[in-house]
């Protein structure tokens, strides 16, 4: 699909908006529908779209395997880290009320970081799975790191 002019132009037009929409879904999740899971998937879908049109190798330059694998673990660590922060500040595990002087602000802060962790893990996993399947078709397989 690399040489399809229509796809390349439409892709270049749409991909920034897909990524922007993912960020909107992520950070507007408190007020409207959306949240970490949806945002992570939309982000990964935008990247997969890019990889399909411009080739997996170009996509690897944007988001390398190393980055995807790090995101995979980093999201869970951020989530658990919010829980531990609650513990250290004198609350229970995953208790957000203690994260700020104002309990409600603490809740908002906790939800923000938790959703961010979810989004990072989900998009990392989706990208990694896509890379794994996409690179198995080639004779070369996954490039050596």
């Amino acid at each position: 699909m690399k040489n399809d002019l229509v796809l390349r132009v439409v892709g270049k037009l749409l991909i920034p908006f897909i990524l922007l929409f993912a960020l909107y879904v992520q950070f507007h999740g408190d007020y409207g529908p959306g949240g970490g899971f949806q945002a992570g998937v939309i982000l990964a879908a935008g990247m997969v779209f890019y990889a399909l049109i411009f080739g997996v190798d170009n996509a690897r330059r944007v988001m390398s395997d190393w980055l995807a694998e790090t995101m995979l673990a980093a999201g869970v660590l951020i989530y658990a880290g919010v829980g531990l922060a609650g513990l250290l500040l004198g609350g229970n595990f995953l208790d957000y009320f203690v994260l700020d002087h104002d309990p409600v602000h603490g809740q908002h802060r906790g939800i923000f970081w938790v959703e961010l962790g979810v989004a990072i893990t989900v998009s990392g996993v989706m990208m990694k799975i896509f890379y794994m399947f996409a690179s198995r078709g080639d004779a070369n397989g996954e490039p050596e790191q």
């Binding site: 529908p33 899971f37 879908a45 869970v76 658990a80 957000y96 809740q107 906790g110 959703e115 896509f130």
Partner: protein, 168 residues
Amino acid sequence: MSLSVLMLVRVRNLFAVIVLFGIYSFLMATVLVALDAVDVAMTEAAVGAGVSTVLLLGALHLCKGEEAKSIHRPWLPLAVAVSTGVVLIYGTMGLPDFGDPQAPIHQHVVTRYLQNEVEVPNVVTAVLASFRGYDTLGETTVVFTAGAGIIALLRRRKKAADAGKDDR
């Protein structure tokens, strides 16, 4: 929607099956919007119709495009599936009406959720990330485990293939 399900059962070309899965997911998303579950509908559209279609196409790229004929007659699985479906439909008859304010589910913890002491306008996000933070941590770990499992499975096979090449 039922038309696409019937087509799914009949069609043996796997490419058509994947496309029908995507169509089914979009129809499911519209049903969920009609039920006012916008968050779930969004997830269904993004995951079911978007990413999983792409991943299935990627998997299809690695195998043959036609479904193999099954060796056995599928009567026993069919009987199990149909009887399970009948039991489930029978079970739905005992449920309260849709949107009934007196239903038990609306009497228990939901009232506290809706008082919204965390003051996040989207109650779904409040429940998901705050009231049920443990659940969501578990879900995230499940996603992480899925990714780690995929890495473990596919990467080891690639190395095994390399080792096979070296032997020859």
